[in-house]
Symmetry: C2
Subunit: 144 residues, 2 copies
DNA sequence: CATTCAATATTGATACATCAATGAACGAAG
DNA sequence: CTTCGTTCATTGATGTATCAATATTGAATG
């Protein structure tokens, strides 16, 4: 009854869909043998695409708090996927790089992540997705 | 550079926008004197609209885990907004009701929440929001 | 009636979010 | 060079999410 009421409120729908998609990704990745969350994945991919970043730069890029970055990096470090190399010029900073294990991990998981993405948007008109993206960006701008 | 890349991926955009809107709501509510998160708000409103629910029913309605419900209710209970009344017929269940403080709290906060919602979608064509809602519902269905 | 299976709520472990406070190191300005 | 303000990364406190395990109770069935 009020289920439908909530499902017509974009804030609720966003939250619900984010939770569903994170859960789904986690399950699918696990099925394919990857013990990683999507939040960890985004960080990993981002380091793969742009090595030698500092944590502040990384935080800006993925729009997360530096505190979150520290903790996610700790987990990726425990999994031997990422290394923090102390910066030569500025001893406060560390440059982030993937280990060789991290590199091959990204290359293998990439295919899985892409297919998960496709599964989630199957049957939706790309034009509508573009519209949704525009709406989301505008909302972020309004409140950010 | 890759900032734009991420901002064209609907999964990332949803996650980012959800985080921004939660942060924004929290700040705005605090400014108006309400010490509550939006997640707590949704639970509170839902109990207001439909009293005597069990936690399982509530969980289904707002699409959260019963574990999350337990913890959010603990916080609302600490704030003296919600009561758990043991069910007469089935001693496993409890029926949820608002305290009188909870009731007036909802009535006052409602206006603030509605105006926060408006602020977030300002300048967006309602048709586009409907499209976004459709997209989100379909994604949830695909992965749920 | 007793055994067994299912439902309800809670709790523990882990992951991620926020904000606030910290320590260390840099940079500029006296 | 010393002081002062800023930046970087980390940590602590708190809120929410997940999954798994538990205790309690109800219901069904032999």
């Amino acid at each position: 009854m009020n289920e439908e009421k909530l499902d017509s409120i974009i804030y609720f729908l966003m939250d619900k869909t984010v939770r569903i998609s994170k859960k789904y990704s986690l399950k699918r990745l696990k099925e394919e043998g990857f013990d990683i969350t999507i939040d960890q994945w985004v960080i990993l991919l981002r380091i793969h695409e742009e090595e030698q970043q500092t944590q502040v730069e990384l935080a800006k890029a993925v729009f997360k708090d530096t505190a979150s970055i520290t903790r996610i990096l700790d987990l990726l470090h425990d999994k031997k996927l990422v290394r923090r190399i102390p910066n030569e010029n500025d001893r406060r900073k560390s440059s982030l790089t993937l280990t060789s294990k991290g590199n091959s991990y990204v290359n293998h998981a990439k295919k899985v992540v892409f297919s998960i993405r496709e599964e989630g948007i199957k049957g939706i008109d790309p034009k509508d997705i573009e519209t949704a993206n525009r709406v989301l960006r505008k909302m972020a701008e309004n409140m950010g």
